[in-house]
């Protein structure tokens, strides 16, 4: 059982097609590979990429490129506003304009993790990491 779970986790990380073809005996046809999904009103994701996918990607898009329609979602990729870490931490906690806050859905550590992920990926290179304690101060 543990092996199956481990393989699923790996499959998600590495792209499932290759791995599934290597481990056909472990995957049942009626039990497909599922992305991480939360229980109730707390996000279960803990690592940066998973938190980004769960929380940010819906609006800011898979590569952080943002989107334009009648309005827009700002790009997070190459975004100089992220230089000040309290800016992103505060917005994740409390929202900004139409953007909802996520403070009630996330621990301080999760907020720090997703903030650090966004500030050090997608063309952003801010190395001053945020800690859970930094997040707690902005709640």
């Amino acid at each position: 059982m543990k092996a199956i779970i481990f393989c699923r986790a790996l499959a998600l990380q590495l792209g499932c097609a290759t791995l599934l073809s290597l481990t056909p005996a472990l995957v049942h046809a009626d039990d497909p590979v599922l992305p991480p999904i939360s229980e109730g009103w707390r996000f279960i994701e803990q690592d940066g990429p998973s938190l980004y996918r769960a929380i940010c990607q819906g609006c800011h898009m898979p590569d952080g490129q943002g989107a334009k329609g009648a309005g827009m979602y700002p790009a997070l990729a190459n975004n100089p506003r992220l230089a000040a870490s309290p800016y992103i931490v505060y917005n994740v906690l409390h929202g900004r304009h139409g953007m909802p806050g996520f403070g009630n859905f996330l621990s301080d550590a999760q907020v720090a993790t997703v903030a650090n992920y966004v500030r050090s990926n997608m063309g952003n290179h801010y190395s001053d990491a945020v800690s859970a304690a930094d997040v707690a101060k902005l709640r």
Binding site: P36, G40, A54, A67, K68, G71, H97
Partner: protein, 533 residues
């Protein structure tokens, strides 16, 4: 037991309530899911009869959703010269129905083509109209839009939990009857043992016991058992038949502890919200039908494919800049007054000349995440196999609920179910997925309630409201603090501009809020225009 005035024996109401509370509980999810259901009866005051518009006065309406359409219809009837700008290539806004052949491209460029059969549809937005939403119902009535009952509570639908009863879904009638029966028996015991100490008189005790027997289907000794009383509600193992068919055999109730631990009782009160009471309706053919009927009255006023980029006002009038929806062909149009129904999620990004108080209000409202998935199946197995005709099954899986069409009962062909209606963290997670992945997951989870899914599924569409290009979210989710600080400022007329929409109402996310906001805003605007004329 305590003695109070007149020496009557009283059972404490607080104790009763606390006992019921312990049994009934209530989860954070349930409360939050109903955050938009707090509205009471609509204070609709009847049809507007605005008269005496100063000759030649022009009003620009921004947005052709329910609010904008109602505003345009009523203002023209009052004698104003009205023009409407709409971003989409259709009217109705969130009063929206997806049918076979429709194409929908969400933010990020993901395009879905709805492959449903003719006559089948899904309503990504509003999907039911309570009997007391008098305003929207009155537009249906006066414009001849036929309605049909929406089945909210179906006693034969399922309540499902991954962890309860081995993941086997339970019929609503079983959970409800047994929950009531057990609670009634418990309370009866407490009453008879004189354990409740205040506030219920000796006289009331007898009435209380009688009412518990009636409410809980108890026997004459206040017991909840397998009986004709209980099976008359939850159903028989062998139901009564005709002629020499076997005698009826009552069914065995679910045990109290397992029922309480299952958490399935959390769904029993859904139909008790006034916004879900019977009778509750849907327009025949899709929720867009009322908006489309209003649109037909004002079609000559509406310009589609117009993306508002700037709203300026001076003492003399309002100037609105707009492009086509792709951002080209910048144009301007002027009017004496403006009714702006653009959702605050979009309006907060548009340059608008209003005072600081209104600007702050425009920026104070986050938009909620929600996802709906429509699934077409080769046959109506929920009717044919499960005897479920309309209504909703609830689950603790991420899809949260599935709903069966409240129309076309017994049709031999295909059918479309609502395969997911999601709020909270799961709504964000589903929104972030590609549409086809949302559909795949809805089929996977739904198959745990209806195994037929895996054989019968054909095609689906999925709408994550944060990806909807013209709303950036589902509805304006006011916090109590923001309401207190900003709501009045949002609704005040600012110079020559007034805002309206579900976001400028106390019935968020419901079409009734849109109608009442439109009526309130244009009535005040009309009075102001006349007072200045």
């Amino acid at each position: 037991m305590s003695k109070q005035d007149g020496g009557q024996e009283l059972i404490s109401r607080r104790a009763l309530l606390s006992m019921i509370g312990k049994v009934a509980g209530g989860s954070a999810m349930y409360t939050a899911m109903n955050a938009m259901g707090f509205a009471a009866e609509s204070p609709y005051a009847g049809r507007l009869n605005l008269q005496g518009a100063p000759k030649g006065t022009t009003i620009l309406v921004l947005g052709a959703g329910v609010t904008g359409l109602v505003a345009a219809f009523e203002l023209r009837n009052a004698g104003y010269q009205v023009k409407v700008l709409e971003y989409n290539n259709r009217a109705g806004g969130r009063a929206w129905t997806l049918r076979g052949g429709d194409e929908y491209t969400e933010l990020g460029g993901f395009t879905q083509r709805c492959e449903f059969d003719k006559g089948l549809y899904i309503n990504p937005g509003p999907w039911r109209i309570p009997y007391h939403h008098y305003g929207i119902l009155d537009y249906a009535k006066r414009l001849g839009v036929p309605l049909e009952p929406f089945i909210q509570v179906n006693y034969n639908a399922y309540l499902h939990s991954k962890k309860a009863y081995g993941g086997v879904p339970q019929r609503f009638r079983h959970v409800q009857t047994d929950y009531q029966g057990h609670v009634a028996e418990l309370l009866s015991k407490a009453v008879n043992k004189n354990q409740l100490d205040q506030a219920v008189t000796t006289e009331d005790k007898e009435k209380l016991l009688a009412s518990l027997r009636s409410w809980g289907a108890l026997d004459k000794d206040n017991r909840y058992l397998a009986s004709h009383e209980s099976s008359g509600r939850r159903g028989y193992d062998v139901p009564p038949g005709g002629g020499l068919m076997p005698k009826p055999v009552p069914s065995q109730p679910l045990a109290l502890s397992e029922l309480l631990q299952s958490g399935l009782w959390a769904h029993l009160a859904q139909g008790n919200d006034q916004t879900h009471h019977s009778a509750i309706f849907q327009p025949v053919g899709g929720m867009d039908q009322i908006a489309q009927a209003i649109y037909r009255q004002v079609a000559d006023l509406v310009q589609f494919n117009a993306k508002v980029t700037k709203i300026e006002q001076s003492e003399r009038g309002v100037t609105v800049s707009y492009t086509d929806s792709a951002g080209g062909n910048l144009q301007q149009t002027k009017a004496d007054w403006c009714v702006c129904t653009i959702p605050l999620s979009i309006l907060s990004q548009i340059d608008i000349t209003v005072g600081a108080a209104m600007l702050d209000a425009i920026q104070a409202v986050p938009y909620e995440a929600s996802v709906k998935v429509g699934l077409q199946f080769k046959r109506r197995f929920w009717e044919q196999d499960d005897s479920i005709y309309g209504g909703i099954s609830y689950t603790d899986m991420p899809i949260q609920m599935v709903s069966y069409p409240s129309t076309g009962y017994g049709s031999p062909g295909k059918g479309v179910m609502l395969g997911a209606y999601i709020w909270g963290p799961n709504a964000y997670e589903f929104t972030s997925l590609e549409p086809k992945e949302r559909v795949r997951l809805a089929v996977h989870y739904g198959s745990k309630i209806h195994p037929q899914y895996l054989q019968e599924f054909e095609t689906g569409v999925a709408v994550g409201w944060h990806r909807v290009p013209w709303t950036n979210g589902c509805f304006g989710n006011w916090s109590e603090a923001a309401r207190t600080q900003h709501y009045k400022n949002l609704c005040q007329i600012d110079g020559r501009i007034v805002l309206a929409g579900e976001h400028a109402s106390l019935i968020p996310a419901w079409q009734e809020g849109a109608v009442l906001s439109a009526h309130d805003a244009i009535s005040r605007l009309h009075a102001q225009i006349k007072s200045k004329a």
